[in-house]
């Protein structure tokens, strides 16, 4: 009896275990071939740079678990960054700027959520439209011009190291809070239910549409927070920032074992998936491999993950 439970647990975490092993192999290879990878400053810097992506990936995981997708996060991130930068430039306190960025993100998420849940439009089309609209709007408004921030904004006024640690800690806290609620909050269980079968969930009395809208709002607010954590890492905001972020987040979610057809997956897997993908680029630089390979390797990892998903589902269904 106990043995079977252990096996069941192992199978529930099989993706996390596979990912963990993959990550360890890469890290061990680097330790042997390119020990230069293990230097405190560049590693701390790498984690700091990836922290905002982790937060966005966590939000994206919930959207995908709910069987939706949001490809406009990169544009939301850009808009939140630029608006936050402009407010910070007007010497608003950074906490207030952060709240405004999250509110703006939530609002943008709500627009997506309303169009998807309220008007029953497919999320890929809705968010494709908002992605292009927001990005082009930003280009039209800023014409590529950077937003210069006051000196106090970088690292939230802390020293560089304190700032980096703060950013990493905040992102890990977001991960932990969201991962723990996934196990214990009825709202989280409802999201899984809607993602598995929206009609069944509705018949079971779960407000499926409101939940669908909620996951978009949550992702938007998290994107706003991520924008602030990214903004604090440099003295200028590039209005093109966030371009390609949607692919990064979706890749981390899929590699992390969240089923693209909704209803299953865990945030721990997403965390490992993001770490794995984030290691690839610096690893290639350290191994002096030509940059041409980077995208191909990313693509390969995503393919393996999706294929693994299908294989696992097939086995369970038979």
């Amino acid at each position: 009896m106990k043995a079977s439970k252990t096996i069941k647990n192992a199978s529930r975490f099989s993706r996390e275990i596979t990912l963990g092993i993959g990550l360890l192999i890469i890290l061990a290879t680097l330790a042997v071939v390119a020990p230069g990878f293990y230097q405190a400053q560049p590693l701390l810097s790498l984690l700091t740079r990836e922290a905002p992506s982790l937060i966005v990936a966590c939000g994206m995981a919930w959207v995908i678990i709910c069987r939706q997708i949001d490809i406009s996060v990169g544009s939301q991130f850009g808009l939140c960054s630029v608006c936050a930068g402009l407010l910070a430039g007007m010497h608003w306190p950074i906490a207030l700027v952060g709240i405004c960025a999250m509110a703006l993100g939530a609002l943008l998420g709500w627009v997506n959520g309303f169009l998807v849940a309220g008007l029953r439009l497919p999320s890929i089309v809705v968010t494709l439209a908002t992605m292009v609209t927001l990005r082009e709007g930003l280009r039209w408004k800023r014409q590529g011009e950077f937003v210069t921030l006051p000196d106090t904004v970088q690292w939230f006024g802390f020293s560089q190291q304190q700032g980096q640690v703060t950013i990493i800690v905040v992102s890990l806290l977001v991960l932990i809070i969201l991962a723990v609620t996934a196990r214990h909050l009825s709202l989280a269980r409802d999201i899984y239910a809607v993602g598995s079968d929206a009609e069944a969930a509705r018949l079971a009395g779960i407000p499926a549409l409101r939940i669908t809208c909620f996951v978009f709002v949550l992702l938007g607010a998290l994107t706003g927070l991520a924008a602030i954590l990214n903004m604090a890492q440099a003295p200028q905001v590039d209005p093109k920032t966030g371009t390609g972020l949607e692919l990064k987040a979706i890749a981390a979610v899929v590699v992390g074992g969240v089923s693209i057809s909704g209803g299953r997956g865990s945030l721990w897997g997403v965390f490992l998936g993001l770490l794995l993908l984030a290691c690839i680029s610096p690893a290639l630089t350290h191994l002096h491999v030509e940059a041409y390979w980077e995208r191909a390797i990313h693509g390969g990892i995503i393919l393996i993950a999706v294929a693994g998903d299908r294989f696992k589902q097939g086995k369970e269904n038979s």
Partner: protein, 334 residues
């Protein structure tokens, strides 16, 4: 009395209306009429083009020509066409355009040429048959050689450097890179390019790439960023790594985005053309073309106080790019 007041008010209104009109000299052509040159930026608010206009104003003043400066508020090919149509109706003598869309604008320019208006492009070209000359601000060779020479000047006789580009497939960057490599192989064979990384034209990604480059290449002496967002991105990475002065940053970029790092000594120099000279040369070329002094097939061209320029085919070359550094960057605002 009432009649008088009404007339006076109407008169004032008419007078105010006249003043507001952007083109006061729209009456019948008199023999003493000044030459009119119309200059169009990609967009009016862009600091880069405002800086071009400064040079153009100076040239117009020296040549005693009427300069019209107008363009879309935002980069908009359709609006550029509308403005050119207006200029054709107005009967200007010469038009100089920085084209937002090569195909889109060429038809309107051909029409202008058909009406006997001289057409010049600057900054970015239109189809070659739709204009007389293109004022080319920088050739791939000029950019590539200048960057490599600047790198060599800062690095000394030997050492390692890395390049951050926008993407591995961008045609113009590959062309620059070919010239950088040609210059390196011929003049500085003991300098070694150890890595080439793309940053997708994003400042944030350039920062991550530069961090990894420095960690992976401990002997790195210089990072050359050949797309504009990569210059401040690489500089921020160098600063955060505490390697200011040890790893030098140079690149192709805008003075304003790099001012802070130039002054902090992180970025050594930024290369770009002098936009004021570009505007100045464009107006001089348009003027000479309109009065017949500049004809197809010319090999050189003299522009007022800034000197002689080479002409390659139908391209008037602005010449070697300009190097911005901490001593001169404050003179520029774009």
């Amino acid at each position: 009395m009432k009649y008088l007041i009404v007339t006076a008010i109407l008169g004032m209104l008419a007078f105010a209306g006249c003043n507001k009109s952007p083109e006061p000299a729209s009456g019948p052509v008199s023999p003493a009429k000044k030459m009119t040159i119309a200059l169009m930026p990609k967009s009016k608010g862009n600091a880069y083009f405002i800086s071009c206009k400064k040079g153009a104003d100076k040239a117009a003043h020296e040549l005693n020509v009427e300069l019209i400066f107008d363009g879309p508020t935002d980069p908009d090919p359709a609006r550029q066409n509308e403005i050119i149509e207006n200029w054709i109706t107005l009967g200007v003598d010469a038009i100089a355009v920085a084209c937002e869309n090569k195909e889109g604008i060429s038809t309107a320019l051909r029409k202008a040429k058909g009406k006997g208006i001289k057409v010049i492009t600057y900054d970015s070209d239109a189809a070659t048959d739709s204009r007389d000359f293109f004022v080319n601000q920088a050739t791939a060779q000029g950019i590539g050689f200048s960057l490599m020479d600047e790198a060599a000047r800062l690095m000394g006789p030997e050492g390692e450097f890395a390049i951050i580009t926008a993407s591995l497939t961008a045609a113009n960057m590959n062309e620059w890179q070919k010239n950088i490599e040609a210059r390196r192989a011929k003049n500085y064979p003991r300098l070694k390019m150890v890595a080439l990384r793309p940053c997708d034209d994003l400042k944030d990604k350039a920062q991550s790439e530069a961090t990894a480059l420095m960690a992976a290449n401990p002997n790195l002496k210089l990072i050359m960023a050949i797309c504009s967002p990569a210059v401040p991105g690489a500089a921020e990475a160098v600063k955060q790594a505490g390697k200011t002065g040890k790893v030098k940053v140079i690149g192709l970029g805008l003075p304003n985005e790099n001012k802070k790092y130039l002054k902090e000594g992180v970025t050594e120099s930024v290369i770009l053309w002098k936009t004021e000279d570009l505007g100045y040369l464009t107006i001089y070329a348009a003027h000479s073309l309109a009065n017949g002094a500049l004809k197809a097939g010319a090999k050189t061209f003299k522009a007022g106080t800034i000197g002689d320029f080479e002409i390659q085919g139908d391209n008037i070359l602005l010449g070697k790019p300009f190097v911005f550094n901490k001593d001169n960057v404050d003179q520029f605002d774009f």
